[in-house]
Symmetry: C2
Subunit: 233 residues, 2 copies
Amino acid sequence: MRGAEINTWQAVQTEVLRRIRAHIWRPGDAIPHEEALAEEFGCARATVNRALRQLAEDGLLDRRRKAGTRVTLNPSRKAKLDIPVLRVEIESKGMRYFHEIVSREVAAPPLAARARLQAKPGEEHLHLVALHMGDDAPYVYEDRWINLAAVPKARKVDFTAISANEWLVRNVPFEGGEIAFSAVVATKRDAAILRCAQGDGLMAIDRITRRAGQVVTAVRQTFKPGYQLQAQL
Amino acid sequence: MRGAEINTWQAVQTEVLRRIRAHIWRPGDAIPHEEALAEEFGCARATVNRALRQLAEDGLLDRRRKAGTRVTLNPSRKAKLDIPVLRVEIESKGMRYFHEIVSREVAAPPLAARARLQAKPGEEHLHLVALHMGDDAPYVYEDRWINLAAVPKARKVDFTAISANEWLVRNVPFEGGEIAFSAVVATKRDAAILRCAQGDGLMAIDRITRRAGQVVTAVRQTFKPGYQLQAQL
DNA sequence: CAGTGGTCTAGACCACAAG
DNA sequence: TTGTGGTCTAGACCACTGG
């Protein structure tokens, strides 16, 4: 007899995965088309489509109209990173969250920052330096520019009551942006603010958030020594 | 007259997104149920479902049976990272790829590595240290343990012809794993291998890959100074 | 218990791209 | 040109969970 019927998309996906892992279908091979699989499994084509579509999104299959479906040759491992609001991240580790504003000014950004902000010379931005603490120890320190032309309301917000990140997330729906991770060496200033040693290796995250073609905010967050960013494969 | 009909799942998604961004539906609010939206948009419920399901996967909506659909209160920004095979990454930057084996031995891993490998004392593993080059300059240096109990074939593979990563991806279908990013300071040894200065800040990636409950391989990759990991939000 | 999302089906038409 | 995936529909039943 045949095994249990394969008539849910998860079951189809599991079976297809099994065949890929068992090398019944090898990297680069074409697999049967949806209609054929639907007939074999005894389910609707939409069910097969749902299963294969997700495997394609996960990078295990390559699908093209007319060309059919193939097992990906060079599967790039995809990691999904959650970048939570810092308060949530710190509190989820069981620590008490607190943050303080180190400095706040309205000014025209210097040349280096202007490029990232797509700002014209002399255009005023809000410049915030803030420190996020977990259990009274520095956790991350951020240097942020907020485009007042895009977010005029920000000029009057009390960012000691709510962090800039959190306020922006809640009040300025963003449409996209870029994020980059790099490793830096703690400068004397970094060390003083984060209470670490000069020369420590620190993780830095640079983010740019856009809306309607404008840059809403650009921020560099510098994490305490030993910080790890984790994800599942 | 009404605008163009909303009868593709992308159009539904766009319209829902617009309402979230325009704060017509605010964070924490419940939105109409699928059937109501389907009627409003003049499309099938399955179409609405497809649109909302993906928004939920992206973290913008919370959906629960009976409770309905709500706009997520603390949207964590999700970044999708592609971790390609290094050869592909380097070649995609227009550089010529080359790699060399620094050392290769079969040995029982030391205590520190044993934990990550879930290995018993005395269990033999393949220990590989390799250097990946882009245009004859060191790009990343990796220290890898391969579990020979899980992958006996690896013992005889010529890893000068194909990198361990690439061989494993093609020959040992993995089922999952963890990845962690951190910042380290270049040791004297790191500096010698990567041809950088001792004390430079370096990005390090630790990966563990599993299959059938076993650890297949654990690797630490240390990148050249200035390396950035980029992603879209 | 009953409301809501989750999924399946059978059929249809469309969009894209390989040959 | 034509095969293949992409999507929509209308209806149905199921699974979970809030009240």
